[in-house]
Symmetry: D3
Subunit: 265 residues, 6 copies
């Protein structure tokens, strides 16, 4: 199978690190394609950055061919709902991936992310996914995303300290690392603290393989129905879902449309 | 005071209708400026359309000057979190505005929106805002957004039928109309059904005036902190928050930064 | 428009302070009438005091004429549901008013109130309103209500200390002051702590104006239906809703009655 | 032990019926004293009626002597919180009593009450008590409270029909009758429908006996702390908690006071 | 009436202590029969131990005759759902019993149990029962269950320290002791800390008496329907519900069966 | 890797069907071992049957060697918590597996299970897992578990009818089949109804592979800590966790023990 992993920010070194983390868990027959948009922010820290990354995610989805699953490699699952509308092949965010797998190995987990400003978006996702009751606390280590790329920073120590607090104060039974840039730290931190420590990239890749093997694709009934045939204006004209039905859908009561999906796998 | 009302879609006739609805409730001293982006979808129906409207919202916020409050006039409150980061002057979505005011005049309300595909995003907002327990049901009338602009459509009848069902089956004590394009129907539908019927545009304008009079502005501590100084790439280069701190913030533990806000009012 | 602000306790100096806070935000065309019952407790601190204030609230509502909105100026929104039944003009509690406006400028807020004994009633209101998920914590400063009226008390310092703890420990993005008697402190505390600090009186007055401009009145379908025509006994005989239907309502399935409202605006 | 059962409305025939229901389950050594206030509404149907019944409840509590438990015999548990503040002996509402016992014999129950206007207050109590997740639906039979006293009314049939719907549509495993005036119907309706049917009066009396035997009394730490020593004005002067501390409490951080309880049992 | 109290572990000294606690609150006419299974673990500390205690509980229920109520005397309410299926006479767990009665004397309670490993099961029960919102925190004293039986251990001091923290940090208004083995400590700890301290055994016995007096039995419609007639294999052959219908039930849409109940009271 | 799939009931034809469903999705290198206990019920329909299946699950876990993941193939995830305590290799229930994967391809799903008596246990699991908000409704088709094995029954038609109702009435975007015995129906029902239809067995096997590839094992801190060294009595003597520490654990504050795990993989 072919998995397209989209790092939603424009920092190519992070794309490479994410691709490496993905490869390390991918099955023999799985092809990993890692990309990032050329438009948008160099890192995503909070609500503002997020929204400038999403059109580029869709652009990358459109450019790729014969994809069996999409992984969005930003911990706040930037643009996930739009990606699910855009394709029939499943789309998975690394945040939700880690939350779901953590729920299978622990009663309760805590998240350790980068900056405090990113905490509300993560908390909100947990509520939306239904898994807020499984999360003891979303904690920030006050390490900026791009500092994770700097050799010699004290990033790992700060993250480790926050994990220690989560285990002691929150009674967290597992830890979810709250940034794609922390992918390389998971296994050593797990050994150090004696609890499962989850990196979302690895979780998302194996979940994509799981969905593929079971034959599950995104439901096109309801909120993730294929986009209606509309002509977008200006800089988004080329992203118009014109591959979809050019005329209004015949029936849409349940979100069902006669649109041809824009997904080409 | 000056309120910038942004219709996030590119349909100017809807911008005009929204502006008219806003003017009809605005106080004497309030200046209403209605705009829409030139980039993006002609209407917003579900998760996919939403994300192509948001960068244009920020562009419109940047272009305007001396604004005291922003109103985002799409019922799913498209891009509201990003807009709150972008400015210190308050930003209000018409969806949340209607939910909050409905909670002051009724124990429970139902929403009547356009297409089924839009229902999940609205349900999700209600959960996020905390007001899901006040909403009996989100209902769709299966009227497309732009059909509301068509003379001679059966849009009003369908909406009215759905309201009747909400009052009878959900025990809804008030009705929230789930689309900016329904602004002109609220008062006649209220008389017809004997319950308060709320249009979000009017609600948002008066809430913006309320916040202004009380002197409340968006908190810059936490999730709505001003964007960090980053250089965005490609088509978003001009939206880079370079007006904000060019170097990493000195302390960010609580989301406080030494950044100069990009808000210019 | 005419707003009747009812301080539910019998302390007239507090009524004056509340009236002043209301006037400071009221629009040019708004008439503020501040009253308090002559029967009841001198301050409201907890569940017991509350219930002796409510009949007096209704009495004051009955005495006034041509009122466009009622504001109940006790932070636990004493008697709010009964007031909504009693009138068609909207009734707003200062607690809920502050919670709703805080939700528009911050992701999460904390409340700082007077005594610990008042905390459960406030927590309970938050759950009832649906906004508990927006409130990080309800905190008490252990300042008695009437001590807020004493010159030279350390009330302001205690409240300020508790705000500092809320910002640091709860990650509160805004603070709601939990007593009508704190109305004069909001703006200086906001400057001191760098977060929005909300006083419920100002919030309620501007929300009352908002509802009036939009033309919203309390729904008479369901829980806030006008009282049935009953003859009350004893000291409440004069409060009998005899202005309402003297005979049983014709249909009440949805709380609709053929009763004449007792509201006289 | 001595149980004071207070019917909060002024209809003495209902007080007698309630007393009889209480006697039928009371243990040998239990003395039942049934009273009702002389001030207030003849029946309680919704939020408005409620608040005029509460001062009378406290008056009845004050008049009685050597009481081991108080039962408030209105299904919306009128004034329960204030009653808990007023005494150290436990106070139980018949609504909560039925909800708690229903939770011990069924996974899920539905409530069948009188008028639609009473539904929101009951729903709100369920949320407050935490038991909303155990209640499938609050249903109204559209039988007025005092019609339950009328021979020849179709009240029993309407209630029975609503029970049938609850079992069929809600998958209710038990039924809670939502009015003290339905006490005499529980056992025959249970036989008819093959599910437990609970009357709150019987439940509250046996729970009062349970608390007495275990030696449990209302916590005076927190929300139910004894009223502070205050001088009430006007018609409530005689209800001033002057039996309580005349001076401000020494410490109240946790709601603890040095006040002498006004409870005299 | 006859109450069968089942200590689900095999430690007979604990069975004796539990029986004594039960006798101390039982009414004159109540016969208490205390038993424990001969198969299973000597104490129940967490999910693993639990499941080996449950078949023995059913065995003890089957051996006893003419029982009016069953009490399961392990704080995590081991096997309660199965016990409810097995009998028509009510079955009560000591955990739920304490949670329900605590809710009648306090707004919020905390639980103080034995080991940290037992906390998740208790938290989960609270969510299931609907009473999680009434519980401030489940705390562990790190006292092993059987250490409660040892003279000279520091068990009481550790429990008392944890209670002090609960009152101070959680604002708990009452304390629920989270182990049947703590039954003898409740009243002295209550005097020491000035808040109600509840032992589940006493609570369950008096609730059993309450249900008996009201005539309430477990609903056989839905989740607690009598077991279908099945032939169990191996060591459980003798526990086959063959007393129940040998053939498939005629209708089961609502969980109703034509099975003869296996309950023999 | 080696996956042990335990059908908790004693019906070997169902074990074979489950094994076949598992094999159909397993990766090349995955060995599937399907077993069932010899003690216990022939099918699991509700709370009573469940508890007699669990000791046999543990027995099967103990008998197997070098297992990398355990799958419990009953839709109510019988004994899952105990299985997680018993091993370090991950244990997955087919119910939770389907709920988690459904959450990745649909906003909302409904469950279609066998008998009404099984519904409450499934609803309760959804609440426990946190995913209740993602489930629109748990529906029963009134097909008994073993009827799924009968050729010529109308089981498939009844299930299909219930799916149609779920899509129409619940707005379900995906369907989870609520019984291991329905594994062979998923793909044809998905084609028929145009929505994803999930079988838990396939979901659990691929999730087990995902956890194995990521290197995740059950957390031994907290609720899933290895059993303490205890001597079980009677028929469970051989299941005593004597492989674990024979003496009390040195420290257990966080559920950490010095016990050797009884897991032998």
């Amino acid at each position: 199978m072919r998995i397209l992993i989209i790092n939603p920010n424009t920092t190519t070194s992070m794309t490479a690190k994410i691709g490496k983390a993905a490869m390390s868990v991918a099955s023999a027959g799985t092809e990993i394609i890692s990309v990032n948009p050329s438009d948008g922010p160099p890192s995503i820290e909070g609500y503002f950055d997020e929204v400038f990354a999403i059109p580029g995610i869709i652009t990358e989805m459109n450019k790729a061919a014969a994809i069996d699953a999409y992984v969005i490699a930003c911990f706040d699952d930037t643009g996930l709902d739009a990606a699910r509308c855009a394709a029939e092949a499943p789309a998975i965010g690394i945040g939700e991936a880690a939350f779901h797998l953590a729920s299978l190995v622990a009663g309760k987990f805590s998240v350790v992310t980068t900056l405090a400003r990113s905490v509300p978006a993560i908390e909100h996702n947990l509520v939306k996914y239904g898994l807020a009751s499984r999360c003891a606390k979303v904690r920030s280590s006050e390490v900026a995303v791009l500092d994770l790329e700097l050799p010699g920073s004290d990033a790992r120590r700060r993250i480790s300290d926050e994990i220690a607090r989560a285990v002691r104060e929150d009674r967290a039974e597992a830890i979810v690392l709250g940034c794609a840039g922390m992918a390389d730290l998971a296994s050593s931190l797990s050994r150090e603290h004696g609890v499962p420590v989850l990196d979302g990239v690895a979780c998302a890749v194996t979940l994509a393989e799981a969905l593929f093997k079971v034959g599950l694709r995104t439901s096109k009934v309801g909120g993730y129905a294929a986009p209606l045939g509309k002509r977008f204006s200006g800089i988004y004209a080329s992203l118009s879902p014109t591959g979809a039905a050019a005329r209004p859908p015949v029936r849409d009561t349940l979100g069902l449309t006669n649109a041809t999906s824009m997904d080409r796998d």
